[in-house]
């Protein structure tokens, strides 16, 4: 594939709480790390994209503001907002530019500084949903989980096991927000938030940044002998289903099918996966949507270790949103960073054996993206 798109560099600012830092500080550190990783300077970047949802920093023109601190040489800079899926959608558009030949290189910065507390949808004004206590963020995942429990017999401990695994994986990730082991009993006995989701099954609010540099294959061949390709990508938005709100993040199964077709592979070819586990049901529901296990078998599969680093289907090897953290705009780029490190055999203790093809699934309110990578 001579017209391939290569991930030339990846970089992160650690995820966590950094009250003394601005989004400029977070973004700059991730961007410089990615440039160093790629072995190029800012002058060689031909397009910039920024994924960021809101919070602190300039409300308008954040992309140009952030890129201007790296250098100012007139490149087009574009802001992309898709809630928690912002930077993966930005990566798709960057890859489209490179495949179309309008840029040889592009950098995607994802960044967020978040407010403390429970994620809420909508404002605090007197609207129906907030008056009646309906707009509580874990509720959407919890309601999908309840339906899954009723339809397939999935158990609370199946969901809780996702958090146990994520925490263990994050212990060997120096960029993760939570680097502590946690037992199944501790997860199940932590405060119930929205049944069956307990506190330790919710992602934290986080500050952090990611940066990913894409390049044309021709450009990349002059900088690396072992490129990792961004092989296929597909995005989607929700499909109407009688008004059900549970699918508000979009049709992962449909989008995954498109991505597999474009990559010329099937779900059985994926060696490592980073997926959207803002709350633990995310992993169980998504491995079914991705076609890794038949519908309804996600719970037992996870509980029996199927998604462990040493399991049949390693998932969220860096700790996922649950333990690595979830600074919304930065998350997609962090997923891709981990996939690239796995495919380059740079993941240290987290390294998945025989790892040649990886998949990132990143969802936000309003859409979902599936990206496939291979060596």
């Amino acid at each position: 594939m001579s017209d391939g798109v290569v991930v030339l560099g990846v970089g992160l600012h650690p995820f966590g709480r950094f009250p003394e830092l601005t989004i400029d500080d977070l973004a700059r550190e991730a961007a410089l790390a990615a440039l160093d990783d790629a072995g190029i300077t800012f002058r060689e970047i031909e397009a910039g994209l920024v994924g960021r949802v809101g919070g602190t920093g300039p409300p308008v023109g954040v992309g140009t503001h952030l890129f201007a601190q790296l250098g100012q040489h007139g490149i087009p800079v574009t802001n992309v907002e898709l809630a928690c899926g912002s930077s993966s959608r930005a990566l798709m558009h960057a890859a489209d530019m490179i495949r179309a030949g309008t840029a040889d290189t592009a950098m995607v910065i994802g960044v967020e500084k978040m407010e403390r507390g429970m994620l809420r949808v909508g404002g605090a004004s007197e609207n129906y949903a907030s008056l009646m206590g309906l707009n509580v963020m874990p509720a959407a995942y919890a309601m999908r989980a309840q339906r899954h429990m009723a339809d397939y017999g999935t158990k609370p401990e199946h969901f809780a096991q996702v958090s146990v695994k994520s925490h263990r994986n994050a212990m060997s990730n120096p960029f993760a927000q939570y680097r502590i082991a946690i037992t199944l009993e501790e997860v199940l006995n932590s405060r119930m938030v929205c049944d069956p989701i307990t506190l330790y099954q919710c992602c934290p609010t986080s500050d952090g940044a990611s940066a990913v540099i894409l390049a044309s294959e021709a450009f990349a061949r002059t900088h690396t002998a072992s490129p990792v390709f961004m092989r296929a990508w597909a995005g989607g938005s929700p499909v109407y289903d009688n008004g059900r709100e549970g699918e508000g993040e979009g049709p992962t199964s449909l989008v995954a099918k498109r991505a597999y077709e474009r990559a010329g592979i099937g779900p059985g070819d994926i060696d490592v996966t980073q997926l959207h586990d803002a709350f633990t049901p995310g992993e169980i529901l998504t491995i079914e949507d991705l076609g890794y296990v038949p519908r309804g078998q996600g719970g037992p599969f996870v509980f029996e270790g199927g998604t462990e680093i040493t399991g049949e289907r390693p998932v969220n090897t860096d700790g996922g949103l649950l333990s690595r953290g979830h600074p919304m705009g930065a998350t997609g780029g962090a997923m891709v960073t981990e996939i690239v490190r796995q495919l380059r055999r740079q993941a240290g203790e987290r390294q998945v054996r025989n790892c040649r093809t990886g998949l990132a699934q990143n969802a936000g309110i309003g859409g979902v993206n599936v990206l496939v990578f291979s060596t």
Binding site: L131, G133, E245
Partner: protein, 145 residues
């Protein structure tokens, strides 16, 4: 509609639901496609099924069953509900699935498939002394219908 004490009951947001004059149950305002019969919660202009432009108003069925639920354990700011309380999605008898607040259902009693019906809950008095009401769902009282 006249409530006890002679005051009017007015919806929290105009156009969300109707309160029939004949004392029948309140119904959510929806839309229906005259071409293909598809029924929607809320106000749509274009049919998602057949792309027809111009749908007609349709009062949705006041009864349905619990499609799914959860129990909110942490008190959200600004809500009249007191945690723990159940919330969910209700599959109305004529098709649409709508977000639902539940009234008079204990958290431990809510079940998928439970028959429920629309009801109204008082929110506050407005400047004219009218009672502002919002919709919720309660366990269906078959005998009363």
């Amino acid at each position: 509609m006249v409530a006890a004490g002679g005051t009017q009951r007015v919806p929290l947001r105009e156009g969300t639901f109707t309160i029939p004059e004949d004392g029948g149950p309140p119904r959510l305002c929806g839309t229906r496609c005259p071409s293909c019969g598809a029924t929607y919660a809320g106000q749509r202009v274009i049919c998602l099924g057949c792309a027809r432009r111009g749908l007609e108003p349709h009062a949705l069925s006041p009864s349905g069953t619990v499609w799914t639920f959860t129990i909110v354990r942490q008190q959200p700011p600004g809500s009249i509900m007191k945690a723990p309380y159940p919330i969910g999605q209700v599959a109305l008898d004529d098709g649409p699935i709508v977000a639902a607040a539940f009234i008079d259902i204990a958290p431990e009693d809510v079940r998928i498939g439970m028959p429920v019906e629309m009801t109204l809950v008082p929110i506050r008095k407005d400047d004219n002394g009218n009672e502002v009401v919002a919709h919720a769902f309660r366990r269906r009282k078959e005998a009363a219908r």
